[in-house]
């Protein structure tokens, strides 16, 4: 169901709100230079804390993405002490990125050593045992990319973990874990789907962000 566009053109959109949404997106994704440029254009002073925060998160993010777990963890502990202790799932996920990096570069010995020193402590907790088994199983394949657990090697998975780490750091430093832009899109999607269900009970197309952006 598409709301008549003429009706919603009358809705007042406040420029300040728009600016906040754009800023929130840029901060979340560590676009430091872009943010500074944007703030200069709209006549707002950038904050030093924001800039430093973005730089640090960006570095941490890229280390995680590259599979350099030790560096990512080191910097995270420095910037957000206690975060990883509180977030065991996340801690495990980051370590697994490093493990996967070893596997992909065929450094089997390093992978084993790493697993034994870092992963085993998690094995004490029942809920990690299954995950551990999945990862260890990768070692059994000559071509892990073709194994049933290939998704653990995918860039999507790495992005997801790195993004989760970014969110956790944001939350730890008392910033929103989701940018206002994301929230806006999510909320729009949910509301539109709800309306589709209500108005066309025999199933309507889900809200397509892609179509909307054309």
């Amino acid at each position: 169901m598409d709301t008549d566009p003429r009706e919603y053109e009358k809705i007042v959109v406040n420029e300040n709100d728009i600016h906040k949404i754009v800023q929130s997106y840029l901060i979340h994704h560590c676009f430091r230079d872009t943010l500074e440029s944007f703030l200069a254009c709209i006549g707002v002073k950038p904050s030093v804390e924001n800039s430093e925060d973005m730089d640090r998160r960006k570095r941490i993010f890229h280390f995680a993405l590259d599979g350099n777990a030790s560096k990512a963890i080191e910097l995270t502990n420095e910037y957000a002490p206690g975060l990883l202790e509180e977030n065991k799932d996340l801690h495990f996920d980051i370590l697994s990125l490093q493990f996967v990096e070893f596997v992909c570069t065929r450094k089997i010995e390093e992978a084993l050593a790493f697993a034994q020193s870092k992963f085993t402590p998690f094995g004490k907790d029942q809920k990690y045992v299954a995950k551990l088994e999945d990862f260890m199983a990768l070692l059994a394949y000559e071509e892990p990319e073709k194994s049933p657990m290939f998704h653990l090697l995918s860039s999507d998975h790495r992005h997801q973990v790195a993004e989760n780490l970014n969110r956790a750091i944001l939350a730890h430093t008392k910033q929103p874990g989701y940018s206002a832009m994301e929230r806006l899109i999510q909320q729009t999607t949910v509301v539109k789907q709800c309306l589709s269900q209500e108005c066309f009970k025999d199933g309507n197309e889900p809200f397509s962000l892609k179509d909307f952006l054309k």
Partner: protein, 464 residues
């Protein structure tokens, strides 16, 4: 009377922005001291039920206590039309996620016919809630739920002396829910629409009930229930995954639309190394082309208008895009001339503004936008125009509106683009905000305007 112009679609954009001014000026005029957009008022507390209604009572069958929070059935019940039923003094508030109240059965009397539920304002106050259409009632003597007629459905346990029973509305799931002694009994879809009054009934000798509308703590943990509902709603939102490029594109289009050239350059460069890295598949080269059309010119014009240099802006437009000015009678011209008038008033050059107005406004006397001229002229009537009802014209928001109009009109001069729909009027970001706002209103409307109202501010201010 529309101006006679060669190109109706260019003028249509200007006309749209004059309409937009008209819609928003009513809002702005009401708040002379605020910057626009301050509609979200944290402080408006809706009135809620606080006590029993003693005015509309089922005459004579029930006695209401002096505290207006208790009721007693003194007589003997004889038939089905002498129920001692009482409503609250107000209906459940319409903007809450949940509403809840409780009763305590002090005495179940001879038959234990206590009932709790909701009814509408037209309810016959001699019948048990639930026995009539547009009402719902949970009855103590049989534990059945009645929702609209005399036959009840199995619902929950019976209740009697010493029990605390609660009844609530959940606007998220559109359900009624009931509790007994702190535990949920069950919930049922809310078919009854409109304003709902908390309702209590007694219907046998010596039945006595007290009511709690929130003055005292509830036996049922309503706060936890609400938190649970909020968490469910939030997780539905959290579970929506967004492709990485979408947000990137929206920001990119926003920057393009408003001509933030420098920022756009940074953004394009950073895209590759940001968090997460964006690899934009160019969907269609055309897409980018018309976003960046006349970027430099649009940005320059925006800056001029935003700093009040209207004459310079007009001159530049004359040089670069004289089509949009046409013969000087287009809606865009009207907006620009009015803005210059406003700027002169702002600088206190009242005589200059008058002679400017006399020169330029005559040709718009039959224009659809002549009410804008009138509002501008009204500024002259006040010693302190910024504090008057037309003071909003002196704010940045008016400059912004004119800048947006010029921006949108220039975008339309792009020869490569076939105009469709609302292209160029605003960026995807504004359209998205409008979508979610309008759809949220629509969704609430389907629940007869009950439930929390969507406010963009909530998204902006939420810590999560």
């Amino acid at each position: 009377a529309m101006s006679q112009t060669a190109s109706p679609s260019l003028d249509a954009i200007g006309a749209y922005f004059i309409d937009y001014w008209r819609w928003t000026s009513k809002v702005s005029a009401l708040k002379p001291d605020e910057e626009s957009g301050g509609e979200f008022d944290h402080e408006t507390e809706e009135e809620t039920p606080t006590e029993l209604d003693t005015v509309n009572s089922s005459g004579g069958f029930v006695l209401i206590g002096p505290d207006k929070l208790s009721l007693l059935y003194p007589g003997i019940n004889h038939h089905d039309h002498d129920v001692g039923v009482v409503q609250a003094n107000r209906p459940a508030p319409s903007e809450n996620l949940l509403y809840y109240f409780e009763i305590y059965a002090k005495n179940a009397g001879s038959k234990g016919n206590i009932a709790i539920g909701f009814t509408t304002s037209s309810f016959k106050l001699r019948r048990q809630p639930g026995w009539e259409p547009n009402s719902i009632g949970y009855h103590g003597h049989d534990g059945l739920l009645y929702h609209g007629h005399g036959k009840g459905e199995a619902f929950g346990p019976t209740f009697t002396t010493g029990d605390t029973v609660g009844c609530g509305i959940n606007n998220s799931t559109q359900e009624f829910f009931f509790t007994k002694n702190g535990a949920i009994v069950g919930s049922v879809y809310k078919e009854v629409k409109g304003e709902l009054f908390p309702t209590v009934a007694v219907h046998s000798q010596n039945e006595e009930v007290s009511v709690n509308f929130g003055k005292d703590p509830f036996v049922f943990d309503i706060k936890a229930y609400e938190a649970e509902q909020r968490a469910k709603d939030q997780s539905e939102i959290d579970n929506v995954t967004i492709p990485q490029e979408s947000s990137y594109r929206i920001v990119q289009k926003y920057l393009q639309h408003y001509g933030y050239e420098e920022t756009l350059k940074m953004f394009d460069i950073s895209g590759k190394s940001n968090v997460p890295p964006v690899s934009l598949v160019p969907e269609d080269g055309l897409n980018d082309q018309y976003g960046t059309y006349a970027l430099n010119e649009r940005r320059t014009l925006r800056q001029l208008i935003r700093s009040g240099k209207i004459q310079e802006a007009l001159f530049a437009i004359q040089q670069l895009y004289h089509d949009i000015l046409q013969d000087g009678t287009s809606a865009i011209c009207l907006l620009l001339h009015c803005q210059h008038f406003i700027e002169l008033v702002r600088e206190g050059k009242l005589e200059d503004s008058i002679s400017y107005g006399q020169r330029e406004f005559d040709k718009f006397k039959n224009h659809a936008g002549c009410d804008l001229v009138k509002d501008c002229a009204t500024l002259l009537a006040y010693e302190q125009p910024s504090k008057s009802c037309v003071g909003y014209l002196l704010r940045d928001s008016q400059r912004e509106l004119v800048a947006d109009a010029v921006n949108a009109t220039i975008l339309l001069t792009n020869p490569d683009v076939k105009v469709s729909g609302g292209y160029g009027l605003c960026s995807s970001l504004e359209r998205l905000i409008r979508q979610v706002t309008a759809c949220s209103v629509e969704k609430r409307h389907l629940n007869s305007d009950q439930g929390e109202v969507f406010h963009l501010r909530r998204i902006l201010e939420s810590g999560k």
